[in-house]
Symmetry: C2
């Protein structure tokens, strides 16, 4: 029950961020949108800032569930890594495609906090990537030294396709983004230098 | 002479962007900083917006000179491409490292124009990268189909290290950035999959 209300609050935040943006959104608006009292929101979150950041966290937590599912599947490490690179871009794209602005602009007031969360999200992602990289290293499928460091490099090499500084509209249409991330994933896996 | 004044104006803009930022900067301030009359500035630029964008263009034009020099050197295509990837990140870093904000925030008022310029800068870079990729393809050093498309993928895979949405301070220290771009360049060239 407690978790259900928390989820309903975050769902309401998602709709309000789309409709009115972060600046105009008030705790009262969230309460009204969920159909609960303002006090109930404060049982779950300390502030409007806290709710907004929890909403961004939830997007990444859902992505992490998806990445873990791929990581634990029976596919070979090359196939898994490619799917994970595509998922980290496309899931974020789909999660925020209804927002008129980029995450940075939408949550500009939270910049310092947002940057810190982002770093911790990247660390979480790098851990899952690191597991698959380690597995591939053991199977002698990948040529690499440090799985976590390589995981971070893979994230960095695909971060420009995330809707942080560019809105989804500015990033381009979904199909184009998908082609771009596929080409980068192939480059990172196979490399340019002829074999 | 005409070109010298233009350069002096852009040098002054660089100092003013560092000291007071775009919003506070006035054409009068630029004139005073150069030690010329306001009218002389209007002989070279239509508006404050025009001067600021010309300043960003100049950073990329200087980078393009550097990329072309590498592209035309006698090194092998693999070495050239690696050096070009590192140069595109480090030259931008060094060019704007004295600004307290990211380029996006510094020039937030110019966003639409800035995004359009950026696209055209990437096209110019992709052309130089495409030449080296084509050369490597001819020499059977690289495995690729479309040099320009691959050039764009290489840019996208290194764009997250450019000081657009993150300030130089937020990106991290120079040495760390250099290590990050080197690791990504190696991945893009050699790939993860064991040979």
């Amino acid at each position: 029950m407690r978790d259900e209300i928390r989820e309903s609050i975050l769902d309401a935040v998602d709709r309000l961020l789309e409709r009115s943006g972060y600046k105009k959104m008030k705790i009262d608006d969230i309460a009204e949108e969920v159909g609960i009292g303002k006090g109930t929101i404060y049982l779950h979150f300390r502030s409007k800032e806290d709710v907004a950041l929890a909403h961004i966290d939830r997007i990444v937590q859902r992505l992490l569930v998806q990445l873990n599912e791929i990581a634990e599947s029976n596919a070979n490490p090359v196939t898994k890594l490619r799917a994970m690179l595509i998922a980290r871009v496309m899931t974020r794209f789909d999660s925020v495609q209804h927002y008129p602005e980029s995450i940075n602009d939408l949550l500009a007031d939270l910049r310092a906090n947002l940057l810190a969360r982002r770093e911790s999200h990247f660390d979480d992602e790098a851990t899952v990537f690191g597991r698959v990289l380690e597995e591939g290293k053991q199977q002698k499928a990948f040529d690499l030294k440090n799985p976590i460091a390589t995981g971070h490099s893979l994230l960095l090499a695909t971060n420009s396709l995330l809707p942080y500084s560019l809105s989804v509209q500015e990033l381009g249409d979904r199909h184009e983004i998908e082609e771009k991330i596929e080409r980068i994933a192939d480059l990172l896996l196979e490399g340019l230098v002829r074999r």
